[in-house]
């Protein structure tokens, strides 16, 4: 399909407000009847843990105003195969990860290869609150208040050369601290990649915090990528190396199941996985599914990068 200038959401796809409100009323009634089984009545910032705070972050125009997913859900429903293949145990298992000291090595086709200490990385870059939609390839989504800074700030500091066409990201490899790496279900360490223009895009951030505090281990501490218009697995966690390369990197999920996962993995409601239909998604905490938006609703900002590209072929 060619990207045209048409809006991401056809007017016909938007739920009529009366229907929507009717659903909300049903939802309220249903939740009362089932003792609020499906509704998270807890306030968004419930029970923040004793994690250290971060330098003050400024708000960003890229943030969404949608209702934030509660902290408890963001930190207890994690796909982090370095710890476990279920979504509940990383919350406890990730406690074994040592995130200080931590360094991130930036190398490859750059004029100034640098190894950054995590504290310097946080101090050197002014932090921003970025409240982003997060869409998992499994069909669920969240609204997550990240704290971070644009990746392009770091990229400018290391001065990429003309050979830098892609950026390759690598997660820590340490089976002692990451018990999931003792099994060979995936090829370790986890590798992700972006095209240079995607990496330079202002929406692409390195996140170091969540809900105003240091990132919890299970969410990818101490530093992770966040690319909100792509499926969640592109947003690689616990990064130790960022390399600028000429060839498109072989990323972990593409290597594991090439027919199912593509390098781009842009959120696309028309793209049908053999495991999940991507047309709709369940926002965590909601009863009703909602339509999935092309580029996760960030089409206005990112669609031009894929103009003329067949998104069905380059999935």
């Amino acid at each position: 399909m060619l990207i045209s200038k048409s809006p991401d959401v056809q007017p016909s796809e938007i739920t009529d407000e009366a229907v929507y409100n009717g659903r909300r009323r049903f939802l309220a009634a249903a939740s009362a009847a089932t003792a609020g089984l499906f509704l998270n009545s807890a306030s968004a910032a419930d029970s923040l843990p004793d994690l250290p705070g971060l330098p003050p972050a400024r708000p960003s125009p890229f943030s969404t105003h949608e209702r934030k997913t509660p902290y408890r859900d963001i930190t207890n429903y994690n796909n982090f195969y370095e710890f476990a293949t279920d979504k509940y145990s990383p919350a406890t298992l990730a406690a074994s990860l040592t995130t200080r000291p931590w360094t991130v090595t930036v190398d490859g086709a750059v004029r100034r290869p640098t190894t950054y200490d995590i504290e310097d990385l946080i101090r050197m870059n002014p932090l921003e609150d970025r409240i982003y939609r997060h869409r998992c390839v499994e069909g669920w989504s969240m609204v997550i208040p990240w704290v971070g800074f644009p990746l392009n700030r770091l990229i400018r500091q290391v001065e990429p050369t003309g050979n830098a066409r892609f950026v390759k990201f690598v997660t820590l490899y340490d089976p002692k601290e990451m018990p999931g790496q003792r099994s060979d279900i995936l090829h370790w360490p986890y590798v992700e990649g972006l095209r240079m223009d995607e990496a330079m895009h202002p929406l692409t951030i390195l996140a170091v915090g969540l809900y105003g505090r240091v990132l919890p281990n299970q969410d990818g501490a101490p530093v992770r990528l966040v690319v909100p218009w792509k499926y969640g697995f592109k947003s690689i966690k616990s990064i130790v190396r960022i390399s600028f390369v000429e060839k498109q990197p072989l990323t972990t999920w593409v290597r594991a199941v090439p027919s199912e996962y593509g390098f781009y993995s842009n959120v696309n409601p028309r793209d049908d996985h053999t495991l999940w239909s991507q047309a709709r998604e369940r926002r965590i905490g909601d009863f009703f599914k909602r339509p999935t938006l092309l580029f996760n609703g960030y089409g206005e900002q990112v669609a031009q990068m894929y103009r003329g590209m067949d998104l069905d072929k380059y999935f």
Partner: protein, 214 residues
Amino acid sequence: MAPVRILWLKRAVFAACLLPLAALALEGWRRSLGANPIAAIEHSTGRWALVLLLVTLSVTPLRRLTGCYWMLRFRRMFGLYSFFYTCLHVLSYVILDQFFDWTAIFHDISRLPFMTVGFASFVLLIPLALTATNGMVRRLGAKRWQALHRLVYVIAIGGVLHYLWLVKLDMTDPDIYAAILAVLLGFRVVMAIGCLIRRPMTERLPRLPADGAE
């Protein structure tokens, strides 16, 4: 086993089979089903449907191995409980997950292989549940009834495939179900081959004179 003891055991097993549902309800009430309660309900009911199906299929081999005929009296209950959890599983998908969005449901069943095979197994299970009474055995005749209920093997294979195909990567758990099913079906294959081998041999033996008996 004495009939009274079997009756009490039956009551206990009946109650025990409701425990997974009770545990699920309790977790729901305490709001401890996690961030995605709908997925938790789907997974739990699906898991117990499959577990009870395998329990049902293990009754005959256990009876053969132990010689305890009273075990057969539990087979129907396990089978119906498997159907019960299958219904809860399907209902949780149709109501909680899709909320009667028939287009999405049709799309899932026609496009996603794990949904196709899961739905087919559910449909095949219905006639088995409907004919689970003594009256139906009589009406159909034991032979036809038994032929119909052999569908359970197809259903069990379908149920395990449904699980195998929906898992993204870590096959450990569905592999365990597949291995147990392989043992249970393998037992029947061995028994069937044993019968085939034995039958021609008995046919070859000279018939015993009937007059000398008793």
